[in-house]
Symmetry: D2
Subunit: 350 residues, 4 copies
């Protein structure tokens, strides 16, 4: 009955075994080992295109350094007002980009509204230095609200990015969860729909610590080696990331893990919807489930050992919940089992 | 015969096993798990004092964030002109500290000369904004030249730091190698000699990716949680660092590994000194060995499969080597074996 | 009929004369001349309290460096979403503060709504590094919408700043215009109401280039000398700012100039309200006047030589104006004369 | 007998008169007025080529923003170890360039030694992210030591800059003093010798506050408008700079002022050389004169009202001066008169 976050899990056994397997022997450091190169190539296969791949250790690093790499002086990045970059990364996007700005765009359930994006981006005329210059759109797939952009919704954002001649970045901290939900290929969910780069997250879905910034247009990140190094994000023993990703991508492990956590998310949602003690906040598309509950009741459940977190009330939902209520987030992961859900159900409904 | 760097090694088996052992189950993320807390306490025991411990993933992050955490506007950090922060961290100290400056201080074989430090620090009068204000001294133990500061040499630097009312930081990327060389305790090599904080490196000595910033005066880094987060260096599954450090510190594994690599360094040095084809650059105190060789010969050895790197000629040694010669660095690690040294010897002497 | 901005004016004759008067002779540079010191003392008299005074050249520098001086890692500054720092300073607050973030707060007519401020500031719990830490509230007096906070409205904001233990900064680019509107003393409009520091703007009100950051609690800006210098904002011949401010503050010149521009603003408003071709956007308290007009008509007036600018539709007013309409800003300055207003009136009403 | 610095002077009468002349009337702000444009064109004439001109308020801003505009991630700027950017700008080059690094290069009397520059720049191989990437060479003309690079010496540096494919910047805080010394045209001292951009300083030579960044290759600074704005260095009433420069460049005022201060420098040097109480440090080419004197004697002269400053002992001169001696700098300016020199002479020789 622990649903605090999918990053409360450890690592899948295959991941630890890969680390054990690659722990012996000597290999060139700083990303130039044979293993590192082979995993980079593996990404080319997975995404069915030539792409540059940069390993980093945290999703915040992947997102912030992507923003840094495309930043311009007085630059402005467009994101949803509840996006991870805006709400959970401690101003790393601003700091690591040397003072860039996030311009927040609304939209239901953490999805950027294309019309609002167009309107907001339109407020930054080229060459007008008093306000700033547009540099990037970043979207999250799956979103912080557990929702998943459809392929057409991705296209809608990429068209606006193109209109303003700025790249479209996808924060894929839960890339696999979105992918199995849509049932498409990585290529279909990204560059075929106009996405220019992806923070490909593997940590939340079974790795210890493995994120990859995948860039479909190599020119975009020409200085990235320096950007990563000067922020302390170049590991010496990069093998430890490559080894994890080797196991992660082998035999579709990543998709299996994501299917499991999504299925557990769906079970969790079904169970909660059947209870009279909570009410759904909005439908989930992935492994994150959101419910509204009475604060006093929720505290009791927490006291009994359940683990989940309050979630800030999204803009536009202020009137949907009373003062005694709160939106809560519950996250299933690759280790969640039916009996965790049953135990939670018993606590809630007893 | 691979002596490229100690970070070309993978991980000690005990480290990978600890990762396997802690991979199951759920635990609070972002450094608040029981394991994280227990390892922080373990550091208090190891250093025999109350200290704050912050895990990060790279030595560059540990050093640069220590510099950032004590930075002031117009701040200047004093370091050796061949220190890792100055020569190998891609301007991360400057970038992550928001534009701080490194003031380079000379000294033989990568050890800061106390008199030169005093002279240099004295050039920054308080309140004189045109030049900048002194904020920190950072020393490397063991140094990039394989030498190790004696306890009295550490005291000499800390006295000058105290004179200018700035903290003394120790870059301990090879902390264990220095420690077993001196045969003292961690406390004796640090706070008992006036060191205020340490980048405690474990990666080069058997971990995959585990560094800890250890601070003896908690007030010094009051905002560190925010500094680490805003630079993308807070891991979600911090357990993966804690697990490594658990094994690292257990049963003196770290000291055993360091003793091994130092012993291999000594063997390597002995072997090289007995050869007519190279000549020693300076005596080594640890696992890094430096020799001068003819460039053409060295290239032949590399062509035969040996792995080692040229090292920039230290200031003051320009006249000691001819134009056809070069200083080379060879590094032993916890995986180095006598037969590696023998193989190298055969290549060099054949 | 030029109402583009109050910074389209040059300098009052008294200002230029002061520059001429102080142009001869030699004086210590970088703020340490007798004249510099005497003007700093003059500010102590004007504000009836001990205060630190730092001269800079632009309002953007004054605001951004105030933000920088109180910034913390992961820091967040609260301001109105249409504030100058957010809408017209090209991300200087973020850049000069090393990556700080502005959190935008709503409120009618550019005044921060105290309840919304309380709610927003409350979203940043202390020690929660994922979102950031509150560092400052900055308000604009007079606002970008020409409105003026009443003394009680200032108190309301300072109480919330105190609640969150953060300083309250006042962007006083049009300080004098607000002051003469309220008819109170500088002390009454600032520290007596809990304001901790002021960007005291003189440029828009008759100087060439003279801004002063006035701080009532000297501890707040202990490193400011370094912060100003490292951003290139310390002038060598600071006399040229002091000389301007000497004339500005002498014989209440600054209040006379502000009274004139406010009176011209009132005349302008009266004239526009009497026209059938425009409609008022909201009532003005100072020298900036806002009207809604048909875009096609407005273009005709511009073609005839009138000068004024469109103003972004404030949040909450979207439904008040039709698609063919636009909010326009007209600014009176110390050089505006009745015949300018008459000429504009003729263009609009002909 | 005030020789503290050339920035202790106020403004030439022609400068103040120009400010008075342009103080009336209204003009577009932020650099778009007719006067601003005409002065930019005037620079094209002065430099006999198409160039972009950006006005700023301080030499530190001009230098630092030039460095910022050409900065790359992990970027390194080469300058003399006693250059103004390294010794007197409070880390503004690092801060305003977002954490760039200065690599110090030696050379006698503040002139960069071309061989040392070549050697130092050669230590930064392209694509090697551990050390950083070369981004610019910046030289000072006239230097901080009062010396002036000959045209061939400028060519020597520009050839090395070209070799490493990085721009050559000239810090021209005392551009006019160097120019009249060499007796050549602005074009001959800059782009005809491979200089890519110039910080054209007018403040020290008779203006209140007027510096211009002049760029011969417009592509180099494509984002400069944003870089200047985001650092708070875009003035609203840019007319106040343009007006100064109008007078400065009219009828060769700038050359006349520089000839005067150089002539006074030569007189000062002659007078000092004739004294038994001081000895020359090195020959001066411009308005800055350097002498070695006994510290006790110097203090007496200062007590009698003379004004000059100690100068840090240049590298390589440590053995030339005894412990009781000190190098002192004396600066003549456009307001220095023969009787100032006579008064100093009397103090020294009495």
């Amino acid at each position: 009955m622990i649903f605090g976050s999918d990053n409360w899990s450890g690592a899948a056994p295959e991941i630890s075994e890969a680390l054990m397997r690659h722990s012996t022997g000597l290999a060139v450091a700083y990303g130039d080992s044979d293993l590192d190169k082979s995993i980079e190539n593996r990404f080319n296969e997975v995404f069915e295109t030539d792409c540059a791949v940069f390993f980093v250790g945290t999703g915040t690093a992947a997102n912030s350094l992507a923003i840094a790499a495309t930043m311009k002086p007085g630059g402005v990045v467009f994101c949803h007002n509840e996006a991870h970059v805006a709400a959970s990364e401690g101003s790393a996007p601003e700091f690591l980009s040397g003072g860039g700005r996030l311009a927040l765009v609304g939209g239901n359930h953490c999805k950027i509204d294309p019309e609002l994006l167009d309107k907001t981006a339109g407020e930054y005329p080229q060459e007008f230095n008093h306000l700033g210059q547009a540099t990037m759109v970043t979207m999250t797939q799956a979103t912080e609200a557990g929702t998943v952009y459809s392929l057409d919704e991705i296209s809608a954002l990429s068209e606006i990015a193109k209109k303003y001649k700025i790249p479209l970045h996808m924060d894929g901290a839960r890339f696999a969860n979105a992918l199995v939900k849509l049932g498409c290929t990585p290529a279909e969910m990204t560059w075929k729909r106009g996405v220019d780069m992806v923070s490909f997250g593997a940590t939340k879905n079974g790795c210890w610590c493995a994120e990859a910034l995948v860039v479909f247009n190599r020119d975009l990140l020409s200085h990235f080696q320096f950007i990563r190094k000067r922020s302390g994000h170049l590991f010496s023993k990069t093998r430890f990331i490559s080894a994890q990703l080797e196991a992660y991508l082998e035999d579709d492990l990543w998709l299996k893990l994501a299917r499991h956590s999504n299925a557990m998310g769906a079970e969790l949602e079904k169970t909660l919807r059947s209870s009279n003690h909570v009410r759904p906040a909005w439908p989930s598309d992935s492994n994150q489930v959101f419910f509204i509950a009475d604060k006093t009741k929720a505290q009791k459940w927490l006291d009994k050992g359940a683990r989940f977190h309050p979630f800030p009330t999204p803009k536009g939902m202020e009137t949907d919940i009373t003062e005694n209520e709160q939106v809560y987030r519950l996250v299933a992961s690759f280790v969640t089992q039916q009996n965790d859900i049953d135990a939670l159900s018993e606590i809630i409904n007893s």
